[in-house]
């Protein structure tokens, strides 16, 4: 049975060691992680990892380029801009909540809030801005939040990701994210790393698994399968469901820590969102 063979292949030893050692240096891990992919895909220029599966598969790249030529998310960016610029009932706007009026800042997220001791992602910051101004929070997986994100991320295209780990509490959050990434879950008993590290570039049925390096650069994403934009946490939930694990809620601590870890590991890559994917 094909599925059985696929599963057997996935029970490989993880290169960074299943040992979730207490003594882990993020800087060293970052280098190891990025080198792992550079060695696995030697023909891919570093910045191209931001294009995910299209960096490693020419056939689907052609179709993707055809779509990116006039991408379906362009209309969403316009709507996102409208939503972003529309004042709240109290007269203030999103620009009042963010550095530089919210323009060109997406690469600074997620960051570790040293006062509240938690990871703050951009969608979380958007909703906190809304609540601070008497508005109801938006749902986190799609719709308006995805459109606002699309606009903010679009204004940040080309900016380099540079996530920092400022203190011990932040390091803890990063470690939790790392642990999540390498932990098996669900009925299929698979970890994120099984697909996106060990088997990156290989097929799972007719899909090609994208490398983990570069994953956070192009969200929110217009997935042809969804027929609309969706956020990173929407995709986390989908992936978890696929290994038949119960997903965590979008913007839960688990997913925020995961995003923190993943984005840190893509430090040096440039934001290229929003993106089109299958």
């Amino acid at each position: 049975m094909k599925l059985k063979n696929t599963l057997l292949m996935l029970f490989l030893v993880l290169p960074l060691g299943a040992a979730l050692a207490a003594d882990v240096s993020p800087e060293e891990e970052l280098v190891k992680f990025q080198n792992y992919f550079k060695e696995k895909f030697p023909e891919v220029p570093f910045q191209d990892f931001a294009n995910g599966v299209y960096a490693v598969d020419p056939a689907s790249r052609e179709q993707w380029e055809a779509l990116e030529e006039f991408p379906p998310y362009e209309i969403d960016i316009e709507e996102g801009k409208r939503l972003f610029e529309t004042p709240f009932k109290n007269g203030k706007t999103y620009a009042d909540c963010f550095e530089n009026g919210g323009i060109g800042i997406a690469q600074k997220y997620p960051y570790f809030d040293t006062e509240r001791n938690e990871v703050v992602t951009l969608p979380l910051a958007i909703n906190r801005c809304r609540e601070a101004n008497g508005e109801k929070p938006l749902k986190y997986k799609k719709g308006k939040i995805a459109k606002i994100l699309a606009y903010m991320v679009y204004t940040s295209r080309g900016n380099t990701i540079d996530v920092k780990i400022p203190n011990d509490k932040a390091l803890e959050a990063w470690k939790k994210g790392r642990q999540f990434y390498f932990s098996r879950r669900g009925q299929l008993n698979m970890a994120c790393a099984h697909c996106h590290m060990d088997n990156a570039g290989r097929r799972i049925r007719a899909d090609i698994l994208s490398p983990a390096l570069g994953h956070p650069t192009h969200f929110p994403v217009y997935r042809s399968k969804w027929g609309e934009l969706g956020t990173l946490h929407r995709r986390f939930a989908g992936c978890n469901k696929q290994v038949r694990a119960k997903p965590f809620p979008a913007q839960s601590e688990e997913y925020r820590n995961l995003e923190y870890f993943l984005t840190y590991m893509s430090n040096g890559l440039k934001i290229n969102g929003p993106g089109v994917r299958k």
Binding site: E69, F70, P71, P72, E74, I75, E78, E79, G227
Partner: protein, 105 residues
């Protein structure tokens, strides 16, 4: 009347006007079922797209439900100059419509 559903890019290249347009529309086939209610989602799709250059039709598209959601169309024609007007209009099976005029660059 729908609003702001059409994006148009039109430019002169190699003596021809190359037009690319993206339209926001569900292009619902009428074959899908609503996951929650189990009922079929009614067909809702653009039937006709009329593309005009300075008031003259250069392309008329007849679409069925097999055109993708948020449909894209590109075509090219001669006899246009920078500054001319391109108009894209659509009508769907519910009688809804929208149009957009853009300047050729």
């Amino acid at each position: 009347m729908a609003k702001n559903t059409i994006k148009v890019r039109a430019k002169i290249k190699g003596g021809k006007c190359i037009v690319k347009t993206l339209i926001k529309h569900p292009m619902e086939t009428g074959l899908r079922k609503d996951k929650k209610t189990g009922k079929k989602i009614p067909a809702h799709y653009i039937k006709e797209v009329i593309c005009e250059h300075n008031g003259e039709k250069v392309c008329v598209a007849n679409w069925g439900v097999a055109v993708s959601k948020n449909p894209y169309l590109s075509f090219r024609f001669s006899g246009a100059s920078k500054g001319d007007q391109i108009k894209i209009s659509w009508v769907d099976n519910k009688g809804d419509s929208d149009s957009k005029t853009a300047t050729i660059s």
